[in-house]
Symmetry: C2
């Protein structure tokens, strides 16, 4: 099956929004083993939507439209497709009632424009929208399938995942399952070296690496006749990858590193505090993105000045004088002191030079010390991160989380 | 002039990356008054690049390609365009020397593939790449202009802004200047009401609002014969907008709210501390994204637990017992106490319910109190934010910055 994605919306052509729908749909189609050869963006203009439709029908057999299903005069996708294919539009009574009910409930006034959202081309299948008033449409036309989806990602994404993917899987006649393993703390080239032979020789499941900012995602995809067979294949490959990469694999699918840490802290009932200098609160922000983090995250200190390191954290002025605020000694002392201060089981401390100013030959921009204090004592690691101020802050915060994750996995995993 | 943007790259069709280049180029072309009617994405495949080129030549007179200029066999944009237009490729000696020199300097081995980046179609103009080895290309062909740009945004964006935009302005024969005014703290509809007549009646400069996440951007664009005339028109309109919107306008162009605050704190030499609960460090993270922020940001406390609010910040247990951790009384006390503790001029405190759990009928998810302590005393504001946990954290952190900005503007502006 060859697919073309057609996004409709003048706001895309004005550069007001980025076409994240095309990325999302392309990724999901790749998971299904369907090739996308073209992505097209066209404005809210019937002649150009017509041209896009005719061109796509000539070179693809699966057309996915996003956008242009709303209630306004500018929303033309459904009308134009129906007109090109000479299909009359028919009212879907169930959907009309749903819209009527929705307006009655919220007390808003319903117009004829709202009602037009319940019109669908003759012979098409309506795809229920659980997050809005525009239904999606699945239309088989000759050898081609035309799918029309609403533009807002929070409507398009669940509709595609829950309503369209099952239909496409049936169309493809095979089960395609995939799983993402997230890897960090090992360079991209070191990782490729460790698993290059697997990537090369494996055909089912396939293994596809994708470098993200501070991590690499390995997407493992199996094609089989049944879900059970696919799961078995995925499990086998995951085990192989674990043998090679060990605890550099930190999470699966949608999980973040903060989620993984949260799980272990919930399970062990251990508590945590942080002392940050160069990351300026970002480490605590990541930790507190997890709902329920107040169960284990007791407090965080951002000791951004030497004055604060001394007064708030009780770092001895002699340590800062002798070794500097960015040093192993200061990091160790920060971790020990915040653990004692907050009376927690664990404490993370970060001190470094985020730049662009403040670096020297001995201590360049990007130099960061990260210390972990635990019931087993306190230890420190030194890093040299590249990039701009924001990048260094992010890399330092993620490296701190990773140190905590590895400690928890080793002692409580 | 009608433009079509053609992005080349299989990674786009696999959904591995999002097409931010198309958004960037569309926005810049809109600033120049050039209409974009189509955006197309095609893989690293010569036949399909050929088809995209021919189609675009039939319906646009400005074609902008991004990607496919690298050194590998997969990079086919330049070769395909030259072949379709029957133009031989010629070595640009200056650029060849530049690549040779670069490889000599870094000690890497240079291959013939690297050398092919210095080839340009006969009659084309080479666009210098200050951030990579692939030059851009400006090619006039009949009535059409074909521009080829490297794919990485950090190469494409400066090349387009510095090399291509001046050429396009000359092509257009007019000066087009624009300025962005950033607005916050006033609802989008309230803002539209305040300036609807200006948006409607103004034709030069035009005023175009664009709602961003926690702010609205007003892009003011003037077209004139000289730069001076354009600046005068922009100044006049900016004054008009200031009369209507007052200090809801917080910054211009690339400036962030943290930048604006930093400027005022640098100028006044005032110092700042923060005490955060629900924002979990995000407020301090925003403040410390500014280089040099250690001059004024002394420390931040993330008192995520009641225990921490009491032990670290000295909030009276009776206050938490009587009013709750999320209350005006607690927020006021947090701000006063952190200001005293850190011995700073100013202090911001945030406490609220980020959700999704922890809300009640009296205190729903999204309820946030923000207090500011200053030499003029301490005050508190109450907010009800909508959205997910991350959204509520972001909105609360931005609202805190805005309270500080308005205080500084009023007393020291």
């Amino acid at each position: 099956m060859k697919a073309e994605i057609i996004a409709v919306g003048t706001e895309l052509l004005l550069g007001q929004i980025v076409n994240t729908n095309a990325r999302y749909l392309s990724e999901k189609l790749a998971e299904l083993g369907i090739d996308v050869y073209w992505q097209t963006v066209v404005g809210d203009n019937d002649l150009r939507i017509q041209e896009a439709l005719n061109t796509a029908l000539s070179r693809a057999d699966l057309l996915i439209f996003s956008g242009g299903l709303g209630p306004t005069m500018d929303d033309l996708t459904k009308e134009t497709v129906a007109s090109v294919l000479s299909l009359p539009l028919e009212m879907d009574i169930d959907w009309e009632n749903r819209i009527v009910g929705l307006f009655a409930k919220t007390g808003r006034t319903m117009t004829d424009n709202n009602r037009k959202q319940a019109l669908i081309p003759q012979g098409a299948r309506l795809l229920i929208n659980d997050n809005g008033t525009a239904p999606g449409i699945w239309l088989e036309h000759g050898d081609s399938v035309i799918v029309m989806l609403p533009g807002p990602p929070r409507e398009l994404e669940p509709m595609f995942a829950e309503k369209v993917m099952p239909l496409l899987r049936k169309e493809a006649g095979q089960i395609i399952l995939s799983r993402v393993l997230k890897v960090t703390g090992i360079g991209e080239s070191a990782m490729e070296e460790a698993i290059a032979d697997l990537i090369r020789k494996q055909t089912n499941p396939t293994i596809a690496p994708l470098a993200k900012y501070t991590e690499v995602h390995l997407r493992v995809t199996a094609k089989t006749d049944t879900r059970e067979e696919a799961e078995v294949l995925l499990d086998e490959t995951e085990e192989l990858l674990h043998e090679r990469l060990g605890d550099a694999i930190f999470a699966r699918n949608e999980e973040t590193m903060a989620d993984v840490i949260a799980k272990m802290l919930f399970a062990t009932k251990l508590t945590l505090a942080t002392a940050e200098s160069c990351t300026g609160g970002l480490l605590a922000h990541y930790l507190t993105n997890v709902s329920g983090s107040s169960d284990y995250f007791i407090e965080g200190l951002i000791t951004y000045s030497n004055r604060s390191k001394i007064n708030l954290l009780g770092i001895k002025p002699a340590i800062i004088r002798e070794y500097g605020a960015v040093s192993e000694e200061t990091a160790l002392s920060m971790a020990e002191n915040v653990r004692r201060r907050a009376d927690t089981d664990l404490a993370l401390a970060v001190t470094g030079i985020a730049g662009p100013t403040g670096g020297s030959d001995q201590k360049p921009v990007g130099l960061v010390y990260i210390a972990l204090a635990s019931p087993d004592g306190v230890s420190c690691r030194r890093f040299n991160f590249m990039g701009k101020r924001e990048n260094i802050k992010e890399r330092a915060a993620i490296a701190s989380l990773n140190i905590l994750r590895l400690y928890l996995a080793k002692h409580y995993g």
